[in-house]
Amino acid sequence: MTSIKVADAAISPQLTSYARPQLATARFTGRRIMRTGALWGLVFGIYVYDNAVAYHTIAASAAQRERLLATMASNAGLKALLGDTRRITTLGGFTDWRAIGVTTLVASIWGLLAATKALRGEESAGRWEVILAGQTTQRRATAGVLAGLGAGVLIMYVVTALLTIAVGARPSVGIGPGASMFFAVAVVAAAATFAAIGAVASELMPTRSRAAGLSAAVFGTAFMLRALGDSTSSAHWLVYASPLGWVEQLHPLTGAQPLWLLPIAGLVATCGVATVLLADRDLGASMLADSATAQARTAMLGSPALFALRMSRALIASWLAAAVVAGLLYGSLAKSTGRAFASSGSLRRFTGTLTHVAQHQLQLAGTRVFAGVVFLILMTLIMAFVASAMGQVREDEAEGYLDNLIVRTVSRQRWLAGRAGLILAVLAAVGMLGGLAFWAAAASQHAGLTFRELLFAGTNSTAPAALLLGIGVLTLGFVPRLTSVACWGLLAWGFLLDMLGSAIKVNHWVMDTSLLYHLALAPAVNPDWEIVGIYVAIGCAAALLGGWQFTRRDLQSS
């Protein structure tokens, strides 16, 4: 006879209890955010070290250094880029100005991206409803995510503080532990502020990209206010209207002003509370309601490239607008800044090794040097666009969007060529529009820069981005899961080498691996079209090879 035995496990439940399941979202979010928080804390620590070394190596003698730094202190363009200065001729003042100016920007972007991904990103991906089916409510889960973000900020603080203390303890640096710890507070204050802003934006906007877009708009506005306030004495009050200005006012290494933590803490707390309160809504809904229905608009749905343009047109418009606004802002400062630059002969080490080619022309073309520095920044921004866009291309494959198209009569070649072509067109447009805007603003000040040389400078600035695009496509073809990592990694590597290369001697073979190193700093010097051609040729070859492999390999989902 047949009999059925049932395993004991089915009739004798033995439950494993998990401590405080309502904290699951905090633990889950914290675990992921803490990794990147610690990583950026490490980078910030290295950057502090770089600045401490750069202070001693920026000029041949103490007298020369003092003259150079005094020049910088009165330079409107540099103030717009990095912020206002205080006691810049001291090591603390130099580190305060240069490190805070850069690290707070990076920390802010990290904060807003982390928050929008953890909140709206998870909800849009459908993972949020699984979480909410557990022992929690939407508000509790949201509060948990905020706590997780807080843990990420905390670990960033700990790592930054420990490394700054270690650097500060060196006899040649001499920054006390208290000042080092407050310096780390200033860095992570920016991260916390924009994480909080990103959290509110996640409640207001229906998709992650829009939430990130809104947060980025707030960030861009805050940066512009801070830059205008710092570079224009009659409008200095604008600094106080910007959260980045509040962070700047902390001056952790030059006479700390902790009272400025109050508006920062107030903003973070207000945004945090608002986020939790707004979270009590329908799943998938948003406070700034987007219409659930719409008239069908079938324009730009006829080809993969046009469709990609339609889906990313807001993002592309933002990049173009940012290039134009930045070009206008810095172009308007070109003349006065150039005058100050021209009086300094030791600028090379300050701006990094990339400016070495301009050394002999500094006194003749201060304005061009400043423009060169601005175009270097534009260059890296364009590379950031490429890295971001290639990440999106990979995501379309990983998330299955691509399947919808290539199971029809769209070939992989056509799809990839359309996407890469669109990225190429946008990066060229950003470079040229940035150049044109800079020229227009500089021309209004009679700065002496010609239309032709700035157009060339803009074109020159797109070369490393074109190479990065080719490398991105190559990676997509052979190791698709590493596409985003490779693009952002190369960008960060170039930055890191420039940063370290300006302070310590780095082997030229290592420097050669930087995408930024070989480019002429146009318009400080004429673009080296041979180098530009080599960049573009390598980029094209890499893209062709990657595209060929992409058509042969298996599609790989996430």
Binding site: A7, T293, F307, D403, N404, R408, T409
Partner: protein, 310 residues
């Protein structure tokens, strides 16, 4: 040498089609032919290799060994020509959340190259689908309707469905069945991967069962039933005869009080003799359902994750 007539009559043909993911076998040595105009069900449990087969047929992944043809065209070499002849519905498609239903249908049609607009409108009504809403507001079932409508409306010669009714309510499942039968009547070929055995039973001319990456059975339902055991149920005034266990061909004997259920493969004469000797009050024999066929192929041991059968 293969004639062009045979090629034209074969919608799908695979030869030793295999896909390995490192040491893991996704599909092994699949030899399969689907004739033009027939509806073939492709069944198997999770991880058996159904989706791997479909992704190989679509050219989304490359075979480790073997090859596949659709209407005589190599799926790897002639991807675009192949894709012009097929329409595919995945189990769960990732669609663009900011597009409306109408925009998505327009996009998918333009990427395919052609569509029957009048039939699409009919399908929109049949599936009771509101095209004006944005994709992110649709339920899973409504998102699946977009895929179904887009695929059916393009009138492709071969329709490939991978769990197409996941998320559909019973009324919409009925609309789907109606559409598949309509496609078959129209001469289209349907390759249907499904977990819904009643759906496959109702729609398919032939059934293929895949197991652990290998084709376990293929044939019409009638052919499979002939090869399979017949279920016999009987009730008695007293205890059922214990000799049933020893009858050749009898298996899966279950006794509950005075009621006996068993399966018999081959001749039923011996079993009837034993049962008749015990003077049964009722006697019922029936062919196995597709579900029973499926389970008999897999065995209850594999089907029941948490239990054991001895």
């Amino acid at each position: 040498m293969e004639t062009s007539a045979r090629k034209a009559n074969t919608a799908v043909r695979t030869e030793h089609l295999s896909k390995h993911y490192g040491a893991v076998i996704g599909l092994e040595d699949l030899n399969l032919e689907v004739n033009a105009g027939e509806v073939v069900g492709y069944l198997g449990p999770n991880g058996a290799g159904k989706t791997t087969t479909i992704r190989l047929l679509l050219g989304l992944i490359k075979p480790t060994f073997g090859r596949a043809e659709i209407f005589g065209m190599d799926v790897q070499r002639d991807k675009i020509a192949v894709h012009a002849e097929i329409a595919y519905v995945p189990g769960e498609a990732t669609l663009w959340p900011s597009l409306t239903g109408a925009e998505t249908l327009h996009l998918l049609a333009s990427m395919h190259g052609e569509t029957d607009v009048a039939y699409r409108d009919l399908l929109i009504k049949r599936f009771d689908f509101d095209t004006s809403r944005k994709v992110r507001t649709y339920s899973k079932g409504n998102r699946q309707k977009i895929n179904l409508i887009a695929a059916l409306a393009c009138r492709a010669r071969l329709l490939i469905f991978d769990e197409p009714t996941a998320g559909l309510d019973p009324l919409m499942e009925q609309a789907f069945r109606e559409s598949v039968l309509e496609a078959r009547d129209n001469g289209q070929t349907v390759f249907l991967s499904s977990h819904v055995l009643s759906e496959a039973e109702a729609l398919c001319d032939r059934i293929a069962i895949v197991r652990a990456g290998r084709l376990a059975e293929i044939g019409t339902l009638a052919q499979m039933r002939q090869l399979s055991a017949v279920t016999v149920e009987a009730s008695f005034p007293g205890p059922p005869p214990s000799a049933v266990d020893r009858v050749p061909g009898v298996s899966a004997v279950q006794v509950a009080g005075h009621h006996l259920t068993c399966q018999v493969r081959g001749s039923i004469d011996g079993l009837l003799t034993v049962l008749a000797a015990a003077h049964p009050e009722t006697l019922l024999s029936r062919e196995p359902s597709l579900e029973e066929l499926f389970l008999s192929i897999y065995g209850e041991q594999e089907h029941r994750n948490n239990g054991a059968v001895s």
